[in-house]
Homo-oligomer: 143 residues x 4
């Protein structure tokens, strides 16, 4: 989870955890009375969008320039259900990636309790599907 | 519901009701155990997409040519709830519109029972928001 | 739109506009590059949930006691599209209803610009579908 | 992917692939013009629902009896994007699990091309969160 133990000098930056708060609404639940399993992916994407914005990246401009982020892989554990009206937050931490791949740990928590934990791999690609380097702001954030 | 009583010669075509079948899945429900109210709009849009396709209109090509359908107005009555696992169908009928506006009655039914009934007004617009004439196939379908 | 002109003594309360802020994320958009039309119903439901909470109503408890709010009718005008990354807010005002029906005007705005405007009728019903009186906190809010 | 190589006598049953067809609609896409990543989880859940129904399991009755299926883990690879109007199908195969865990491979394909491939672990739990044995029909299907 803290992949940079060997790099104490950059630890402060690299383990920086981004926090995003959200509320569970009716739209998020299903008839089991809990958050529908696909909707956690929406929650963590909202968090990624805010994290990316805070890095100074404008996804609308990126798209106008023909590049979008795309999810390549998700490994997700559903540990405990979130319910209607819950106040949750998403914690996002960058894991070691590469110039072409952004890997993030994203946990959805209610207070201290982890309800959902995912490792998400993101790439950047052009409209014809070619994988390109990640924006510099992201490559630098991971250092 | 059958707005063309005065035009018997075109009645057969104009009252043609398009039918689209669907099943209610977990994703469609909310914690009240019934279909979430916004999701009926998804159901009727699936039906419109199939209806438009059957008229020979390719929405992907339309979009590549810079035009999309846009919903301008929805009046919707929620009469009785649909539930998980229900087999539903959408009945779509064109109401009198104009060259610029397509007005449709769309009912979501379970067997003979109307659960949801909407009147939807559609326009066609370019990517800069200009309203343009509807595709000829639609204008002719309404005659 | 301001239905209480004849009741100046209660005007302050009755015209109280509830405001709910939100951001447009990827999940909200469709391939036309704008917010998918059903998702405005999600936005205004989030606003209603917060408004109801602020009136002191706990929907989870209501449900445990066998009552839920249900939408009976929506009249919605789509005036101008919202786009990815937009910061929007929902303005909610109660319109004159009755003990059994709650009618609300709900506008989705970007700054001063109204993008979507709906009149929504809500009822309160038991799990067997019987319509019951609205919670007292709501009936009183409308006076 | 075919985990039963050592059990040739049951191979026919165990490798039985369930197929579920679907169409991509506007609701499924995002502004990148492709299927939004969370929506593949909806697609594969529709397929699981149909597969479970074909095994004779009534999820509505299960829920009335206080049991629901819950997803415990998803490992998903996004290989190639699905687009508006695509005709897709989901192929579902049971992998070796246990009496308490159902593990399934679920691929979303366009023709022969795999666009999305997931391994999903399902459990059965009561409304208070206790994990219980899977329904017999599922345990037998996996043999």
């Amino acid at each position: 989870m803290t992949p940079i133990h060997d790099q104490p000098q950059t630890a402060t930056r690299a383990v920086a955890t981004h926090r995003f708060d959200l509320r569970v609404y009716y739209e998020d639940t299903d008839l089991a009375g809990i958050v529908y399993y696909a909707n956690y992916l929406k929650f963590i994407e909202r968090a990624r969008s805010e994290w990316v914005r805070e890095l100074g990246i404008d996804q609308t401009r990126m798209k106008a320039e023909g590049q979008v982020f795309a999810v390549r892989r998700v490994e997700a554990d559903y540990l405990s259900p979130a319910r209607y009206d819950d106040v949750l937050h998403v914690e996002t931490v960058m894991l070691p990636g590469s110039g072409a791949r952004l890997v993030m740990q994203q946990d959805v928590k209610r207070g201290d309790m982890v309800l959902f934990s995912a490792v998400v791999t993101i790439i950047c690609m052009t409209s014809d599907g070619t994988v390109v380097r990640l924006p510099a702001a992201i490559r630098q954030a991971g250092r």
